[in-house]
């Protein structure tokens, strides 16, 4: 086949009816503030780690809301917990604690 330097990107379609939301639900149980997020991106804009590891609280929350747990985990691993996102959050979400809670509930099922 001829190579033109283009390829078809993998589909990013997701069927929200079939997605497993258990992680998001569990998160909302212990951090009800997670629902307050309006995805403004202030957290991502100030993030110290974002530049180096791709961490973004906004993306993590969106990923979890779409059931993309593995992707969220990859981002969370880069967090440096400096707390700047908490200080700039216009919704007053304690994002630093939210990140810690998420790190805790990952792998809770295996126990």
């Amino acid at each position: 086949m001829m190579e033109f330097g283009f390829s078809i990107s993998p589909s990013s379609t997701m069927n929200l009816d079939k997605v497993d939301f258990s992680l998001y639900e569990r998160l909302c149980e212990i951090e009800p503030d997670a629902k307050k997020c309006m995805a403004c991106g202030s957290c991502s804009a100030t993030c110290t780690a974002g530049q180096w590891t791709g961490m973004s609280v906004r993306k993590v929350l969106l990923d979890i809301q779409r059931g993309k747990e593995a992707e969220a985990a990859r981002l969370l691993k880069g967090c440096m917990l400096c707390g700047k996102c908490t200080m700039v959050c216009p919704r007053g979400i304690n994002t630093r604690h939210l990140i810690l809670s998420l790190c805790r509930i990952y792998g809770e099922d295996e126990k």
Binding site: K77, M80, L81, G83, N94, L100, R104
Partner: protein, 605 residues
């Protein structure tokens, strides 16, 4: 003196013996357990300290001054100090003199464990005794001293405000049993010795009491019951002691040598940490000191309750208390036994299980390294602003301006973004992750070849000073560095800043002990006034990263209280040396809030 009884024994000593053997056994086994719980390095440190003359002397001095005289309490409040030292030192002297008395008059009885305690029951005075009448006088004198302390203790229980304490803890049921038995011991001793004073001799207290009792009681039968009661009270006190707040008495005797050996908390619940928990006297001084306890909120989240819940193994409460704390360290500054509240809490946070661990190993930081890399030079300065200064860029701009004015050869390590210093993640109890960040940052600093590292954030400064181990590089907070520039004449201040109040940031003041350097700079910048509570008593701004769970909506009262404390002398400007304090205060202050770097930059000639 002669023996009244050939056997030298009476059944009433049995309760005392039971209590004494129990409490001694419990404490010795407990101490051995705590020592065994230390890791190998700490054990070595501890045993070495026990044979090093310098630490031996320090141990003896600290034990005497803290456990018996309660010097720290005297400094805080004279009444509280007198109350504690009269009971502790008085009781100690009673025991010591009792033994000396026994040794002088009845050397053949010294081997009997109980004899010196109940000396006055077992002996009868004869014509030779008077030569030692000074003992009788001293015994009565110290008994009076202890009794005066007990009277104060009873008053304190009813009105703690008279002793400068607004809030205190509620004693538990066993605490009360211990407390009341402690109160009863000394009046009963007085009664018992008074009833026997005509036989065994006595002094200014017991002899008149004996005569008075004879006038209306006249019955020898009162003698034995009071000695029984005295012995039983001692027994009750000693039997409940390990389960009450009075455990701090023996525990502090272990904590002081531990601390002098230079141990740190390595495990949340074992060894040194456990010694701290048991040394907490539950006095509740930390409640009034805690910045979170303003408007009666969060009282149950203070260090005293952390210690209580660790003793009760209430895991849920331990977690809540340790996560909420701002780690400002004020409880430690006021604590009489030196329980390290922040370190205890960080240790509790470190034993959590996380399903996901941060990992920065794959992170590529060559861009930062390249941007600062240069030939090693002693005169070169590397400036690290840190995350919080990134949020308040006025500070880093002022710092750059100061560097230029003073003609410093500097490099800005995180001008285009840098890594976190690792302190926030360390405060969250995740030591391995902090270590990784430290390692990464160290690579950059080494590559820069700078001889001095300047930091404008006390949070960074603390971890750089304590954990980075940068050999050959001076680590300085910008307040120290500016003072150096001013002293060297490279920076000239005009002194026209008006009146300034300086806020001591927790991490810089209590955390690193830097109080004078910023003040000296500010005295040359303007007229320095002091806050009501300053230096190690400064009040946390409420913005601390130490707390994991306290939301920003709940911190307003804390900040307003800290601001109120700062503005008592009506200054023109509030100056601090921490970007986090600055942004926190700026939210609610009605006066301009500046970082010291901004003030200095504005007022250089």
């Amino acid at each position: 003196m002669i023996d009244r009884f050939a056997s030298g024994f009476d059944p009433f000593v049995i309760p005392f013996l039971i209590g004494m053997i129990f409490v001694l056994g419990y404490c010795i086994i407990g101490a051995i357990r705590l020592i065994l719980q230390l890791d190998a390095e700490d054990k070595k440190k501890f045993f070495l300290s026990l044979i090093t003359p310098k630490t031996i002397w320090k141990n003896i001095k600290d034990l005497f001054l803290n456990c018996l005289i309660h010097v720290k309490l005297w400094k805080r409040n004279k009444l509280l100090g007198y109350m504690h030292s009269s009971i502790a030192f008085g009781w100690f002297m009673l025991i010591l003199l009792g033994h000396i008395e026994c040794f002088v008059y009845m050397p053949h009885r010294v081997k009997l464990f109980y004899y010196p305690i109940f000396f006055n029951y077992f002996v009868a005075e004869n014509e030779y005794t008077l030569r030692g009448a000074i003992f009788f006088f001293l015994m009565d004198f110290f008994l009076l001293v202890v009794l005066s302390g007990i009277v104060l203790a009873i008053i304190k229980r009813v009105r703690s405000r008279l002793f400068g304490m607004r809030r205190t803890t509620r004693p538990t049921l066993l605490d009360r049993v211990g407390l009341y038995s402690l109160w009863m011991i000394f009046p009963l001793r007085l009664l018992a010795e008074s009833f026997t004073a005509h036989i065994s001799g006595g002094s200014f207290l017991t002899i008149p009491m004996n005569m008075m009792f004879k006038a209306f009681l006249g019955d020898q039968m009162n003698m034995l019951p009071t000695w029984w009661a005295y012995s039983i009270c001692l027994c009750i006190f000693m039997c409940v002691l390990p389960f009450t707040r009075y455990m701090h008495i023996p525990a502090e005797m272990l904590l002081i040598p531990f601390r002098n050996a230079g141990l740190t908390i390595k495990h949340a619940r074992r060894g040194f940490a456990k010694a701290q928990v048991y040394s907490c006297p539950n006095c509740g001084v930390c409640i009034d000191a805690c910045p979170m306890s303003i408007k009666k909120a969060n009282i149950k989240d203070t260090t005293v309750y952390l210690n209580r819940n660790i003793r009760r193994r209430n895991e849920q409460r331990i977690e809540e208390i340790s996560d909420k704390c701002l780690l400002c360290g004020k409880c430690t500054a006021v604590c009489q036994v030196g329980v390290d509240g922040p370190q205890m809490r960080i240790a509790q946070r470190s034993i959590r299980n996380y399903g996901l661990d941060q990992d920065y190993s794959g992170m590529d930081i060559s861009a930062i390294k390249e941007s600062v890399a240069s030939e090693p030079s002693k005169d070169k300065v590397l400036y690290f602003a840190g995350c919080m200064t990134q949020l308040t860029p006025a500070i880093s701009r002022a710092m750059e301006s100061i560097f230029r004015k003073a003609g410093v050869d500097y490099a800005f390590m995180d001008k285009d973004g840098g890594l976190c210093c690792g302190r926030p993640i360390l405060m969250a109890g995740r030591f391995d992750q902090a270590r990784q960040l430290i390692h990464k940052n160290k690579e950059v600093i080494k590559a820069s070849g700078a001889g001095t590292l300047v930091l404008s954030c006390p949070i960074c400064y603390k971890i750089f000073r304590e954990h980075y181990k940068l050999e050959g590089i001076r680590v300085m907070h910008h307040t120290e560095y500016m003072l150096e520039l001013v002293r060297a004449g490279r920076l000239k201040l005009d002194g026209g800043a008006g009146s300034i109040v300086y806020h001591d940031p927790c991490e810089l003041g209590r955390g690193c002990g830097i109080y004078e350097q910023p003040r000296e700079v500010l005295r040359q910048t303007g007229e320095l006034v002091e806050a009501e509570a300053n230096r190690d008593m400064a009040i946390c701004c409420g913005g601390s990263l130490g707390s994991l769970t306290l939301g920003f909506d709940k911190r307003e009262d804390l900040t307003r209280n800290a601001l109120h404390n700062l503005t008592v002398n009506d200054p023109d400007t509030i100056v601090t040396a921490c970007p986090l304090c600055k942004s926190t205060f700026a939210r609610y202050a009605d006066k301009p809030v500046e970082d010291i770097a901004e003030t200095v930059d504005k007022h250089t000639k």
